[in-house]
């Protein structure tokens, strides 16, 4: 086995590598996500930097053994800081023929394939539409193939167990995990701990899982099948306490933290939708923090209840994915009109319409900016890594309550389900969020619900406050008083004010920075979850001497004040995004800067190599 970055210092039969990418693939009932997360935790605990990418089918239980039923989990672990879960796996663990078939095209030549030999029977081959057993033909030439009878070895390890045959068969994922632990020189401790905790009261299951895990490990050690094992030393990470976190979990924690920092209870209105539901599941566990979660009857109710909660003075949050944002459009426009603070999470997925619910895409940017009737500007932020989901959640509410505006938070399926080590922040160091409700006006003063402060924000006057009784509504309103107004000049004035209020947020966000030089031949511009791929590709190109910089937007509306000026200092601008050119269109329109595009809508994240190739193409002849 080789990896692009392997340092092949041979130390006995243990080879040292910088980075390895493994994909576990099997039937959706085979527990691939579970072993993937165990492998991730173990690798993180021993100090590797890790990045993961789950890939599961949209169907809950597609027919066992079929191609649509294949579920996979990819993990990249390294002795250095890494930004992506790896382009192509070095090792594929295929638990059945369908898993092999569905993933084979992703493997580079020379990759290692470990198959569960027992499952390559006639019936399963047929389900995967294999005419012949690929293990017996030359179909896998050029790969290193290991045929391991995982199912029968698992059953044998459980000969004395009281489990049913079916329960025994279900343990086979742990055999594969044990084998991979041996091959990559990982300790069993943290997985054993987790098994003991999970099955604390169910001794039979606990013993079975432990036995099978150890059997897998021992199998690697005792058979002569593998000539060498591999070691990936710890990475040089910033000191501190770490845990592994998915983007969705970080999103939930970020909003929880925002509520604590604001001293204001969080209200989360949501309707279940893939891939955003995990945020609802997470937040529903934090009732002890005063979090109120409302599972609404539909997307519209979810956002409307959130607007109601915002009016009532809560930190009001709603969450959804693409089609749900379309349904929420009118109510978000209402929040723009009545100028109440709230945050709308959109964990983007493949579209249009129902699209690809479990796959990632960034094609809702223009929907977020323009997807409402009338001139209805609002603020948009986008986290760029799973950990950044935490940071930007707090940022979203900081802006919402200070500037009295709805804020759309654009995550995506890749960020939401992907995981990486998260340096646990010190609670005391979290930014403050200042919430100031309007109070009764002084003697002789009149309360004006649409009088603005220096940021053009109106007062947040919540029902229950004595002396502030007033009406808000979705009809155009007179400046200051908020009374209904059909006056033409007033409508122009209010439209301008709402726009200026959002533009002014640019004075309240950090300037855009370039990774690399502040000027040069090429700026690679991105936003959201493509950060890792772009950063890796730019880093590699820089190492080869290219004068290329990476610029990543986390505030998309308004953009940082120096955006146009910074981009204009580069000869060329490449906008890389998982859509057909939405940010590119915005940048061109806003700054009259010509931009090239790298665009992909395949439901998959960028491969670093794809970005690198595009950089090379644009810098052709200019690099040394």
């Amino acid at each position: 086995m080789t990896t692009a970055s392997s340092t092949t210092t041979k130390s006995g039969d243990k080879r040292e590598l910088d980075r390895v990418t493994i994909r576990f693939a099997g039937d959706s009932g085979d527990g691939m996500q579970l072993v993937g997360s165990h492998f991730t935790t173990t690798s993180a605990v021993i100090g590797n930097d890790v990045q993961t990418l789950p890939d599961f089918p949209a169907e809950i239980r597609a027919p066992a053994g079929s191609l649509p039923g294949v579920s996979a989990f990819q993990i990249s672990f390294a002795a250095e800081d890494i930004f992506t879960p790896g382009d192509r796996p070095d090792v594929l663990v295929a638990m059945n023929p369908a898993a092999l078939k569905a993933n084979l095209s992703e493997l580079p030549r020379g990759a290692t394939i470990i198959v569960n030999d027992d499952e390559f029977n006639k019936a399963n081959l047929k389900k995967a539409a294999y005419e012949e057993n690929p293990l017996d033909t030359d179909a896998l030439d050029g790969f290193t193939v290991h045929r391991v009878p995982i199912t029968s070895m698992t059953t044998r390890a459980l000969e004395d167990s009281d489990l049913t045959a079916q329960q025994k068969a279900r343990c086979k994922n742990f055999f594969a995990l044990g084998l991979m632990y041996w091959l990559f020189d990982r300790p069993l401790d943290s997985t054993l701990d987790m098994i003991n905790e999970k099955f604390a009261t169910r001794a039979t299951l606990r013993e079975a899982n432990v036995a099978v895990l150890k059997a897998g490990h021992a199998y690697g050690e005792t058979t002569e099948m593998f000539h060498e094992t591999f070691h990936v030393p710890p990475a040089e990470l910033e000191p501190g306490l770490y845990r592994n976190i998915t983007g969705n979990a970080a999103t939930a924690l970020g909003f929880l933290a925002a509520s604590q920092q604001a001293g204001t209870p969080l209200f989360y209105g949501s309707y279940p939708i893939t891939p955003a539901s995990d945020v609802l599941h997470e937040l529903a566990r934090f009732k002890n923090f005063g979090v109120k979660t409302f599972q609404a009857e539909d997307e519209i109710s979810a956002v409307c209840a959130t607007v109601g909660a915002a009016w009532g003075g809560a930190l009001a949050l709603t969450g959804t994915s693409g089609p749900g944002l379309a349904l929420k459009g009118e109510a978000v426009g209402m929040a723009v009109m009545v100028e109440l603070p709230m945050v709308i999470i959109n964990v983007q997925r493949g579209g249009p319409s129902t699209g690809l619910p479990t796959k990632t895409e960034q094609a809702d940017l223009l929907q977020a900016i323009y997807g409402r009737n009338g001139e209805s500007p609002l603020c948009i932020v986008a986290p760029c890594t799973p950990s950044d989901c935490f940071t930007m959640a707090i940022e979203a509410f900081r802006i919402a309550v200070k500037h009295m505006t709805p804020v759309i938070y654009l995550s995506d399926g890749y960020l939401g389900n992907g995981a990486e080590p998260w340096k646990i922040p010190d609670v005391a160091s979290l930014p403050a969020i200042k919430v100031a409700y309007a109070t009764q006006p002084g003697e002789g003063e009149e309360f004006l619900p649409y009088k603005r402060d220096e940021w053009l924000a109106r007062p947040w006057a919540i029902p229950g406050t004595e002396g502030l009784e007033h009406r808000i509504g979705t009809l155009e309103k007179q400046d200051l008083t908020g009374n209904v107004s059909y006056d033409p000049a007033n409508h122009q004035h209010m439209t301008d004010l709402r726009a200026a209020k959002i533009e002014r947020i640019a004075d309240d966000i950090p300037p855009l920075e370039a990774f690399g030089g502040d000027s040069g031949e090429l700026a690679v511009v991105g936003w959201g979850g493509t950060y890792g791929a772009l950063r890796s590709a730019v880093t590699r190109a820089q190492r080869r001497g290219a004068k290329v910089s990476h610029i990543h937007l986390r505030h998309l509306n308004p953009m940082p004040k120096n955006t146009g000026e910074l981009l204009s200092r580069f000869d060329k601008v490449l906008v890389a995004e998982l859509n057909c050119g939405q940010l590119r269109a915005l940048l061109r329109a806003k700054f009259l800067i010509d931009c090239a595009g790298l665009n992909k809508v395949a439901g998959q994240p960028f491969r670093v190599s794809e970005v690198e190739a595009k950089i090379d193409e644009l810098c052709a002849g200019e690099k040394n």
Binding site: L256, E297, S301
Partner: protein, 336 residues
């Protein structure tokens, strides 16, 4: 202590802009009349409405008010009440707003039993959009959008509320100011969703839709007032009553049938069967029932929600740092 208010305290400085003669005026006036008696300070009262003629009402109330978007007022009110259970929250909606575009929210707010007072102005027509048939318009009705007759079968608001498990369901009329006031007060007193259908005359697009029920000459023969624990008696001379024949109600004369044989109203029955049966009594075969169809006790949504928060708080001290460290953690130290 709640201050002593008069109707004027609940009147905003905005000019009322309904068509002269519209039934909405009476409903607004009765709401303003009863609010001094519900035991809430003015700043703890909020009106939420959707879109339509009726939904302009919050602008005319000197309380907190929110004129929202079409059909969604129940959802917005749910959010408000969830985060501030102390408020008295009123939802103002119409037959189009509540039963057509907002039907889904109306159903779900009632099954959740959020403590709101929902007033549905039923004029059996779209007024603000100038006269199209609504979900409660009669079959065959000719309107601007149904010049040769409406082919949509109408739905019955009370039946919808009962099917949605509403805990308080009542009907009243714009012209019967006293009954309207009584009904609003009963709705305000009820803990849980109170659903009140108000027959409202749209004198521009559907004038006289309820005249047989509201006009002096015919009212007594065409309506029956429901009173909990009392037999159903009606007529100018209170000479008629309703008797149940199996599951079928029938009109009987008290000169022929003893009062003890009459159907006795039970608004507090656990199941909604009787209330449903009463709702099926329609003009002209039957007198139309007015009053409280159903009033049962059920925990309110916002209380259950707050209850979970309070219980979880007691069970687990909120500790952000601890939540951050959940699961497996590891320490990275500076390597020498």
């Amino acid at each position: 202590m709640t201050p002593t208010y008069t109707r004027k305290d609940f009147t905003s400085d905005q000019d009322v802009r309904w068509c002269p003669g519209c039934g909405d005026y009476s409903i607004l006036a009765q709401i303003q009349r009863v609010l001094p008696d519900i035991g809430k300070p003015r700043h703890e009262i909020a009106f939420v409405s959707g879109i339509g003629c009726s939904s302009r009402l919050p602008y005319y109330m000197n309380t907190y008010g929110f004129h929202t978007i079409h059909g969604r007022a129940p959802a917005i009110a749910t959010g408000l009440k969830s985060v501030n259970p102390n408020l008295s929250v009123w939802v103002v909606t119409g037959d189009g707003d509540g039963l057509s575009i907002g039907g889904n929210h109306l159903l779900h707010v009632m099954r959740r039993n959020v403590d709101l007072n929902i007033i549905l102005f039923n004029n059996q027509i779209y007024g603000l959009t100038k006269g199209q048939y609504s979900p409660t318009s009669e079959f065959g009705k000719q309107t601007k959008s149904s010049p040769v007759g409406n082919i949509d079968h109408p739905i019955r608001p009370i039946g919808v509320a009962l099917a949605a498990e509403a805990s308080f369901v009542a009907r009243t009329m714009d012209r019967d100011t006293k009954h309207l006031q009584q009904t609003l007060l009963a709705a305000a007193a009820h803990k849980g969703t109170s659903f009140v259908e108000v027959y409202q005359n749209c004198n521009i697009f559907n004038d006289g839709a309820f005249f047989p029920l509201t006009e002096k000459a015919t009212k007594a023969d065409n309506t029956v007032v429901l009173e909990h624990g009392k037999p159903l008696i009606f007529g100018k001379e209170r000479e008629k009553g309703i008797r149940l024949n199996g599951l079928t109600p029938e009109v009987v004369k008290l000169s022929e049938v003893d009062e003890s044989e009459l159907l006795v109203h039970d608004a507090e029955r656990a199941d909604p069967v009787l209330a449903m049966l009463l709702d099926r009594m329609t003009h002209p075969q039957f007198p139309v029932p007015l009053g409280v169809f159903r009033r049962v006790e059920r925990p309110c949504y916002e209380q259950l929600m707050q209850g979970q928060v309070d219980r979880e708080r007691k069970r687990k001290t909120p500790d952000l740092a601890q939540v951050f460290r959940r699961g497996n953690t590891w320490e990275v130290t500076k390597r020498s």
